[in-house]
């Protein structure tokens, strides 16, 4: 009786172990696909995604490098496109002015939150600020 059990179970074990490995490799594959080839050097100013990437049902990158003017929104004409239903077509932009970066809300429907507070029009960004847009939360990194 035991022998029959053991004979059947050995195949089940192997199937489960390989499914386990396959699922981990798949998760890692998703992880690797999202790696940016952009080089982040020391002077770069960028937005870093705080959310776990696989918790969001739309495409979003791990890092976004900021240059003079970057706009975020659902529309395809934005520099950073986020297909989140809670993000407006033109949601916000980040503008560089005399070395400082400013966050400008473009009258979005659901608002932009900086460190938990909804911003009204223009706010200056500091290193370590958390910017929430729809379901997505970014960390602003500026290490100068």
């Amino acid at each position: 009786m035991y022998n029959i059990f053991s004979l059947i179970f050995k195949y089940i074990f192997i199937v489960i172990i390989y499914l386990f490995i396959l699922s981990i490799i798949r998760l890692i594959y998703l992880d690797i696909k999202g790696i940016d080839t952009q080089h982040l050097d020391d002077s770069a100013v960028y937005l870093k995604l705080i959310n776990r990437k696989d918790s969001l049902p739309f495409k979003v990158k791990e890092y976004y490098i900021l240059d003079d003017e970057v706009s975020i929104g659902r529309g395809n004409d934005n520099k950073i496109v986020i297909k989140d239903p809670y993000v407006s077509k033109k949601h916000l932009k980040i503008v560089k002015d005399e070395g400082n970066y400013y966050l400008v809300d473009l009258n979005s429907a659901n608002g932009t939150f900086l460190n938990g507070d909804r911003i009204m029009d223009v706010v200056e960004l500091k290193n370590g600020d958390r910017i929430r847009v729809g379901q997505v939360e970014f960390l602003y990194v500026n290490r100068e």
């Binding site: 035991y2 022998n3 059990f5 053991s6 004979l7 179970f9 050995k10 195949y11 089940i12 074990f13 192997i14 489960i16 172990i17 390989y18 499914l19 386990f20 490995i21 699922s23 981990i24 490799i25 798949r26 998760l27 890692i28 594959y29 998703l30 020391d42 870093k48 696989d54 049902p57 290193n127 370590g128 960390l139 990194v141 290490r143």
Partner: protein, 415 residues
């Protein structure tokens, strides 16, 4: 198919399913001597593993594959050990419980305290103290002194020194610029490492010497600016290997048994030939748990657990174990590449090399690819100190997988 959305629940649930089926099977197998305590401990370990995987996803912003992979490895290991010897299996269950607790404790301690890279002297003194303690109090098992027994409890100090060694190398290379200015500063590390290797030679613990050497060589190869030192080190490695071969008779025996185990099948080569027989008799799918004869191999629960797994669960499971280790080491390197803090980057590299080389040495030895050295497979073999030190190393790797630098001052980068 790869694009279908999957999440962490899939591997976690597969793991629980695997453990439950295995537990059921083992209880049918050992139904003669079942007690409630065994069942409860088995179920609670499954529960602890599930909860830990679940909690880790919430607690840690870092990597969450490494703990999953390791829990699969310990599950396969403990199933096999319990099948070979229920008493050892129960002990292993308890060690695993302590190990997982230690993983979380290490995780919190290492994360909370800052300035690990400054205490190189503490690590060195602690390691030397442990070495001296081993030589004074150690007991000799099969040719090497590496155990300290205190009452009923015995442990292997070299398992802890392994981690201390990685910390020493990491703090040295983090502060490399400073040491380079001091006269002979670039020889400090080599001096310390050769002192350790000398101690290990005195203990005749050559498997550990091999691990120390390879971890040191790997990290030195990556970070040493004076490339000649790397070359000297490799040369010295070859010379000391030759000396070891000439001086220690048990090395010669291992070597002869490796070249032609069949010639010495009745004595020196007995263990390795039995291991090869076991692997061959299992075939691709194995004989089924409880239907093979892994007890023919001496030391089957520690060094030769891999042969027992291959015999009863099939070569496919054996390949799965090797694949799991490969993914684990790959994750370790990925963690090291992503880590901005230099100290933790070197630590992550060191720990990945440690896991990789340790499993390579023993799996290669069991398969007669390289000469056999008696060390344990991390997370799979039976053994308290090995399990505990592997979990401590994993806890440190978990900390290293997190982004430690943002929001603070940027870490000084040496190169």
């Amino acid at each position: 198919m790869l694009n279908r959305r999957i999440n962490y629940r899939v591997p976690r649930n597969l793991l629980v399913l695997f453990e439950l089926i295995a537990l059921l099977l083992l209880f049918i197998y050992h139904k003669g001597n079942l007690d409630r305590f065994t069942i409860i401990s088995g179920l609670s370990l499954i529960f602890i593993i599930y909860i830990s995987n679940f909690l880790l996803l919430r607690l840690s912003s870092g990597d969450n594959y490494i703990f999953l992979i390791v829990t699969m490895l310990i599950s396969i290991g403990v199933i096999m050990i319990y099948r070979i010897n229920p008493l050892l299996g129960m002990k292993q269950l308890i060690w695993l419980g302590i190990g997982i607790a230690l993983f979380f404790i290490t995780y919190f301690i290492v994360k909370r305290i800052e300035g690990w890279e400054k205490w190189i002297n503490v690590y060195v003194i602690l390691s030397i103290l442990l070495f001296i303690l081993t030589l004074l109090l150690g007991s000799r098992t099969r040719g090497s002194i590496n155990w300290i027994s205190i009452g009923r409890f015995s442990f292997q100090p070299s398992e802890i020194i392994k981690i201390l060694m990685i910390f020493i190398i990491s703090s040295y290379y983090t502060n490399y610029e400073r040491y380079k200015k001091v006269k002979y500063g670039s020889y400090y590390l080599i001096g310390i490492m050769y002192l350790f290797i000398g101690f290990l030679f005195l203990q005749k613990d050559l498997g550990t010497v091999l691990i120390f050497y390879t971890v040191f060589l790997g990290l030195q190869f990556i970070y040493e600016e004076n490339r000649r030192l790397v070359l000297y080190n490799i040369l010295f490695f070859l010379v000391s290997g030759l000396i070891g071969y000439l001086v220690f008779p048990h090395v010669q025996i291992r070597f002869e048994a490796w070249i032609d185990p069949w010639k010495y099948i009745d004595n020196k080569g007995y263990q390795i030939t039995q291991s090869l027989f076991a692997i061959a008799s299992g075939g691709f799918f194995g004989t089924g748990i409880g239907l093979g004869h892994p007890d023919f191999i001496p030391e089957v629960h520690t060094d030769f657990i891999f042969s027992a797994i291959c015999e009863e669960m099939g070569i496919f499971t054996g390949m799965a174990i090797i694949m799991l280790f490969m993914i684990l080491v790959y994750r370790g390197f990925k963690i090291a590449i992503n880590q901005g803090n230099k100290f933790f980057r070197i630590v992550a590299l060191g720990i990945s090399i440690l896991f990789g080389i340790q499993s390579f040495i023993i799996l290669g030895g069991v398969l007669n690819v390289i000469p056999l050295t008696g060390i344990t497979i991390p997370f799979v073999s039976y053994g308290g100190s090995s399990i505990l030190s592997s979990f401590i190393a994993l806890g440190i790797l978990q900390v290293a997988s997190e982004d430690l630098d943002y929001g603070e001052e940027k870490y000084e980068q040496g190169n």
